[in-house]
Amino acid sequence: MILFFVIAVQASAHTGTDIYSGSWPETTAAALNVQVAESAYDYYTLVENGAFAWNGISSKLYIKTVNYDSQVDADSDLVEDITVRGVDLGATGAYADALNYKKTWWGGYSDSWDSIWAVSRVRINTNPDNFAKLSNIRQQETITHEFGHVVALKHNQDTSEDSKAIMRQFGFNDKTVPLEHDVAMIEYKY
């Protein structure tokens, strides 16, 4: 009875409000591949650390490879599940962003946080007055945060949990790996 109560309380503590209803297909989620474009090459190590930081939380989620492809900015068939590019998003714009896409039945891809994902796109702001001005630890926190979106996490809605979440919308915890709230969300999702 006590055990049942503890389980019930734990389950209700995280209702899954900070996760997207969309998903990677099960086999894809177990072996996601990341491709870093030449435009983001300066941040290759940050991408590698930020992607792999999500491994080990659930056996159903595994980022398998992070590769650099100098051809990815040009026309290329070498496209992985997740592509990371460097783009000028302005001096005061986003540090970085992410968006997952589904394949539509009438052709092409469309924005979809709520369907079965086919590909994901991550962009890092290359404006010299933006991401580049962050400390190394905050750059890493930002990239790990973006991979949180890739694997299905939203920004946490309850800002009182900001200190426990790398998925906080604004500000930094100066931590580079998923935190307590992020781990709980991944466990709930997968």
């Binding site: 590019r85 001096a91 005061t92 714009g93 970085a96 968006l99 539509t104 009438w106 919308q169």
Partner: protein, 199 residues
Amino acid sequence: MKKNITAIITAMLLLATGFFGYQHLNPQVLASDAKVKLYTLEDLEKNSTAIVKAYITEELSTEIDFDERNIPYNYRTYSSLNVKKVYSSKNGVQEGDIIKVVEFYADWRELRGAYRAITGEYYKPLESGKDYILFLFKQEGNDYYEIIGLHQGKYVINKIVLNEDGRPINERLTPENLDVQKVEPYYIEKVSQVLKKYK
């Protein structure tokens, strides 16, 4: 038999026209989840090259790059704005000036429908017929301004009603009235501060 085939083809054509017509009339919004610096009002003021009341006069151009899967990865739209009032300026912007502003979104159309890509889940592009208070930053070497912190530097003033304390009336704080895609709490706080200070 011939009649049946004609009826089926007509029905299919009608369905296709209806579906793709709908896709063209209702643009699909591709909005990324972005991590952005949180700007307080003080930060906005400190970082602004100019703080103005302005309205959009013309969309000048859109730049958009697609990847090998026809997914947009780099997009921006430039517009011209008429400055109605200058609250502060570090570079001599004056009332009546026409200035160029960049926004990190793009509209485009394909055979299968209309699309809009936007950086960030809160930002909604400037629309004609509305007056905005804008916190603008001009980076050295650029001939255009950017709106500081995406939605954080943009405040529509036509639809927000303030109560006696100078705070916006809560029921009016809908995404439509605030001219954002979604409402976030820090923004509401700034709406209150901005509209109280900049009239």
